[in-house]
Subunit: 343 residues, 4 copies
Amino acid sequence: MHKIGIIGATGYTGSELVRLLHSHPDAEIAIITSESYAGRKFSEIHPQFKGIVDVTLKPADDIKSVQPDLVFLALPHGVSMDYAKDLAEEDIKVVDLSGDFRLPSRELYEQWYDKTHTYPEGIDRAVYGLPELFRDAIKGAQLVANPGCFPTGSIVAAAPLVKEKLVDSKHLIFDSKTGVTGAGVKPKLVTHFSNVNENFKAYGVKTHRHTIEIQETLSIVGKENTTAQFTPHLLPVDRGILTSAYGIPVKNITPGELKQVYEKYYGNEPFIRLQETDPEIKNIRGTNYIDIFPVLDERTGNIMVFSAIDNLVRGAAGQAVQNMNLMLGIEESRGLNTIPLRP
Amino acid sequence: MHKIGIIGATGYTGSELVRLLHSHPDAEIAIITSESYAGRKFSEIHPQFKGIVDVTLKPADDIKSVQPDLVFLALPHGVSMDYAKDLAEEDIKVVDLSGDFRLPSRELYEQWYDKTHTYPEGIDRAVYGLPELFRDAIKGAQLVANPGCFPTGSIVAAAPLVKEKLVDSKHLIFDSKTGVTGAGVKPKLVTHFSNVNENFKAYGVKTHRHTIEIQETLSIVGKENTTAQFTPHLLPVDRGILTSAYGIPVKNITPGELKQVYEKYYGNEPFIRLQETDPEIKNIRGTNYIDIFPVLDERTGNIMVFSAIDNLVRGAAGQAVQNMNLMLGIEESRGLNTIPLRP
Amino acid sequence: MHKIGIIGATGYTGSELVRLLHSHPDAEIAIITSESYAGRKFSEIHPQFKGIVDVTLKPADDIKSVQPDLVFLALPHGVSMDYAKDLAEEDIKVVDLSGDFRLPSRELYEQWYDKTHTYPEGIDRAVYGLPELFRDAIKGAQLVANPGCFPTGSIVAAAPLVKEKLVDSKHLIFDSKTGVTGAGVKPKLVTHFSNVNENFKAYGVKTHRHTIEIQETLSIVGKENTTAQFTPHLLPVDRGILTSAYGIPVKNITPGELKQVYEKYYGNEPFIRLQETDPEIKNIRGTNYIDIFPVLDERTGNIMVFSAIDNLVRGAAGQAVQNMNLMLGIEESRGLNTIPLRP
Amino acid sequence: MHKIGIIGATGYTGSELVRLLHSHPDAEIAIITSESYAGRKFSEIHPQFKGIVDVTLKPADDIKSVQPDLVFLALPHGVSMDYAKDLAEEDIKVVDLSGDFRLPSRELYEQWYDKTHTYPEGIDRAVYGLPELFRDAIKGAQLVANPGCFPTGSIVAAAPLVKEKLVDSKHLIFDSKTGVTGAGVKPKLVTHFSNVNENFKAYGVKTHRHTIEIQETLSIVGKENTTAQFTPHLLPVDRGILTSAYGIPVKNITPGELKQVYEKYYGNEPFIRLQETDPEIKNIRGTNYIDIFPVLDERTGNIMVFSAIDNLVRGAAGQAVQNMNLMLGIEESRGLNTIPLRP
């Protein structure tokens, strides 16, 4: 039984980590910390856990005293980096769920996040935690940068295209639609019920930080400079991201061949389900699955790939547990075998 | 490992049974039947199960060939009774999720359901499957009538009041609000998105069949003729029933004493959570919990009890599995320890 | 053309007043004020008005300079009272949409609102602005207290019962369910999308301020001390209140007689629609209508009355305009003849 | 006062026409027909109209007896064509809201609609009713083909780009998201509440009929063969379409120049609002407005245009009334000056 610490468990990512780890057969939650709520019960902050997880929240300083095998950082970007540095010095394995270590260079981080990075060595050390693409590196990592929610769905959708150099790398479009929980647990104008309900809009056009994460990761994966046009939109639902990706083929390809490409890369993946019809976010709700549907439109010549994930599970806590399993030598899908909650 | 059959798995109740039983440590699904979809995969009908439960649906006639230890009937009322009779002859244990065996007499059934009952012996034989009230009888039953969704939340809310004869048994009011899945998987005008979304209304006022189920069960529990005024309303959500029950005290009681009454009856129940604030349906989503909050308004003198359940789990499939556990000698909460999916 | 001022137009009530008055044939908006946004355009705060109402917001001090015929106070309780006093001194007609003048006595106000009242003469002077019950007094009033949203639907539902002394005045129950906009324009935990969406709960049980407003008004209307048990619940919709009222008859009555009672009081009212089936909040969305459905359950002996209103229109801005029409000698329904927006 | 007929008023488009025309100052509804409900009241079918529009529905044969100045056909495609032919013979002006006359040729119609066209002369005679692009032709038309909901938002978004030949006409992408009312009033699996709520997906990928309508109209407008990649998605909301259009510039252009292009074409249009931030569907709900936001991403070089419409108003009934105004010599925006219903 591995001992796990969670730093910062008062957001949605934190509560999802607890939900998943509570019934993980090979891991036990040794400590949950919160600076603002230390001393209170976890179930006071997340009342759905009443009678299930009633442990007292600790200050983050207590983390080392429990000698954890692995620590999850469920903190805002800019806050994670110092904890990551500290834990690296103790050689404690870390999965960081913030954006602090996802980009390949300090310069890109400081440009897109508008913040000085205090642990640039961590950027070099960190492995990008997308298991289907970087499984082996994750297994040996001390620090894993858990991918952003939008990048997870977008990169997995497009990776086979860029790996096989099937599409024009300068004109990749990712039109993504996300549930509201991506905006976090704190009330804001943008998450006020009547601003979301019966509404729909794009946001962060041209400037969303996940843009550069998608672009840089695909450039690495495809070994070629790639340009990503990424547009997030806000859905009046709690959970789920559907991404509609568009590419312009640079080679002749048939629908059957396109399907074979996806089967080659993902056919044996435990958490990727290749679909033959339009993915729906409700079919993966609460789970770690990625549903993917690649389409060639022979009339227009375009390739489209649709992907559906749960932003809190595959886009955050679930993928983090998948990374934990790899890092600790646990079977990759342990603790993640839940069935989608539909309806 | 107990072998379980599910007859009629194409509705929401059926898919919830499969969701819960698939990961039950002591039970395995030996057969799932459907008359309309026999020969097709379960995951074709419920695509969220793709890659998880892909078994082929069988005709109901195949049920006996697998020699099940227990069969769930997830069928409409009027259809269940014949299967129940048939399985009784084979002495196979049955949990029936329809309304066919919930009322104490054939007369009441035929009056409220407007249908001839073809297996009246079953009415006498059946045990009403509300474990917190009838646990011992359930353990020995061959046929359990799984309670209706509204009755579950209403009866559990009011049972301590009628048992202790705290309130006027002629003036019990149950104002209930349910999610849409209670209306089933088939498209109808009443479940058409734009008729439900941004809308709210009462329905079945005076005539809903769960009225008599609530009233008769409370009469048995309280050993006194009880009159229930039950009003269901339709919420624009998928899952969940909140019931607001109102009673007029016939004895002096303090808030502290009221609380003690509920602790006496439910303090040790694994699936009842006594709350000190207003229950929310999202705090029990996807689980077998009943959250209950009893309140005495000293200004008006009234007692109010609020209860929250998931209509598909505690109001149907979850309670059915709880009954199965009791009937098969399995620990009562096995396979039901999921954490509420919130947000 | 009457000149109208609106003080405090940055909440939902303010924007609804502007929506209704903008196309009112006999009234023109002379000034809209806001302390926090003075100098900015109204359509910057409420972007749906872009190109329609782009006027600049003024400080409240400018109100007298436009010599308005009537002023709406769309302010929080506790803030309204000083403005009302000030405008009374200038003998300017006022419709106050806060709770400051709705209760019959300073003592009740200070007890339920936990606040000192600085203009108690206003309490005596104010007329309760529910036109169907107090039409003549409203016509002559300088100060009208616009009713609360819940009280509007509850009082109109029960008034015929208490006037005719048909029910036990000690056991009136109002189980109300409201859309989220009743909680205002500011983001809070209770209005955070994921706390409302797919959720439902009671709130303010025993303590909600509208309780005393309902009780006192019905006591006046029925000329008898009345006890109201009022329970609000929060619906995951923007607009609309459905109230399910329950009473215990103290006289023999038939369903036909009950219907006649309601026709007697409301049969000729332009904004009350007597229904013969369950009212739905979507059928009155965006309008000033009250849909009412009285029911006698002969099995239990109880009377139930269901009422549906739009909390922002009939529960606030629409009723305010109806009061304005009466106070200024305009035909009562002018400017209020919109058709419900359904679907 | 012009006399207007509506054929087929039992769908959402029909009820929206009645909502708009009921308060139109220069038009009166002379007859509403329905084959399935003739003899019943309009308000029985659409209960929100109770007490407002209670007229009796007539059979379509009665239409000529009222000598209408203009008739709206609110019928399914394939059904409209015969009525259109019949009314043309009487020289009665017609606005057809189906897809029967929107495409430029019989061949395209029969290919994409999989149906024989029985009135091909109507295809030649019909004017495409998008006033901002074809205003003069509409004024003189006997038969106007009211545009589809998706094409309205997509074509208006992209027309300035193709007119000015700013983008590669072979790579136009329209990623559209629509509310559920676009799927009509009849319950189907795809409109079943629990299949839409908390869900999101693409549908009709590659094959949706609006694809060819967008492509052909833009080819006419831009005088160049254009290829449209159109992907509709289903939002869990009642009303509204947001389209995110993507184009690859073929000329150098600055953000300021792009803005000027849109001002040149739309700056004086009464129903187009050029925005400087992301359009939201709730800001145009219930109205005839099109909110448009053109964006140049200098990093990627792509042009994006976002447009928001109400699918039932600007995408159907409102645009039909706008066309009626033009055809009958009424000022274009008469009867269409409602304010968006937000929140």
